[in-house]
Symmetry: C2
Subunit: 248 residues, 2 copies
Amino acid sequence: MNILITNDDGWGSKGILTLVRLMLPFGHVFVIAPDSPRSGAGACITVNKPMYLTRVDNPGEGLEQAEVYVTNGTPADCLKLAINALFGGDEKQIGLVVSGINHGSNASINVIYSGTMGACLVAAEHGIPAIGFSYCDHAPDIDLSEAEKYIPEITRHLVEEEVPYGICYNVNFPVGAIEGIQWTRQCRAHWEKELAPQTDAEGRTFYTLVGNFVNLEPDAEDTDEYALAHHRISITPTSVDLTAYQQL
Amino acid sequence: MNILITNDDGWGSKGILTLVRLMLPFGHVFVIAPDSPRSGAGACITVNKPMYLTRVDNPGEGLEQAEVYVTNGTPADCLKLAINALFGGDEKQIGLVVSGINHGSNASINVIYSGTMGACLVAAEHGIPAIGFSYCDHAPDIDLSEAEKYIPEITRHLVEEEVPYGICYNVNFPVGAIEGIQWTRQCRAHWEKELAPQTDAEGRTFYTLVGNFVNLEPDAEDTDEYALAHHRISITPTSVDLTAYQQL
């Protein structure tokens, strides 16, 4: 099986090294990842600009057994480059897409902004089984040792199930000891106080994105946020079909 | 009512001028739009980079009665800038978000890549009623005269309904004469043959995104693609909750 690994933190991040090591027993591993961090990219694609795809000849320790490519494109572009440039347009040659391990939560509303999950949505568009793994800590040197124990088993389980067309999985790990695994739905939440105003050298105001996460249903027990708050791994089946069926 | 207009084609596009004119009878109109085209931005946000928000003092013909702002951010950023920089973090001061009129279809799978709809998803995150309008033609000088006749009525109808939290509307117009309006679901589809390889001045291969749209359920009569193919306006209620409930 050909396994495609990507992320939105850039190809040298700790999360990708971990995933390569964990996925090698599953098949032939390809890495196509952005040449720099693309957090917040969502399913953004590169329109009307040239994209380059470069094979990394000596990718370094931990990546020797993988075919590694980098691009100036987004995580969603990585999927399009993989399908069309590496596999001649035949998406069936990719048995599995694994994205991450993201440094930071992609639970709840974060899924719509997530480059990690954006790549998985493109995979789902093409009927390729895809799992996005995220760890709820932004630090570059996160300790993934607890998460690592569960990733092979979760991957095996999800791949052995028939993954329906248009669906991928959003898997988030709590920080610290893990006390269980829970199937969840996306929690209602929003961000507030999102702009940090500063002044540049010319006296102009500029903003950088910050913010407080507000859980709008903290008591609901079936959400991704609830699972994470209770030290459980959250697995949310996630759809590329955004239709609000209850509203139709 | 304060009405916020944005798009992903840039603040000077024909679609935004049309929306401003059509929305002025509904209330006080604010425009916050990207300073350049951001097609394909999805819900991409700007992380770790400065964003500027500039009031346009003399925005020109057709925009005199609106407050017009431009930013180097994405369509999704436009919403975050509006809520936090213009309305002090009080999202309830924005009665309606109208995004578009996009030059090009945002039906079917295109919704996940759409900056027009990315802005609407952020509005839905904040419980603000939002409608994305798209016209199925990419030309910069599209003839919007047919679509214009329906936009005020559609807007009035959707705003007068109680818009549930987390839901926005994806409205797509067929090219040419309009023969009806249809509530629809998102059609299953994917893009194929998406890369056009070229060679740059240094002999390196680069790619630009192109592609063929493939409708995976051309006979289904309840989809957005079916409505558009039958000269009908398609209205798809669209959810910020990506949970695949049928899979849970």
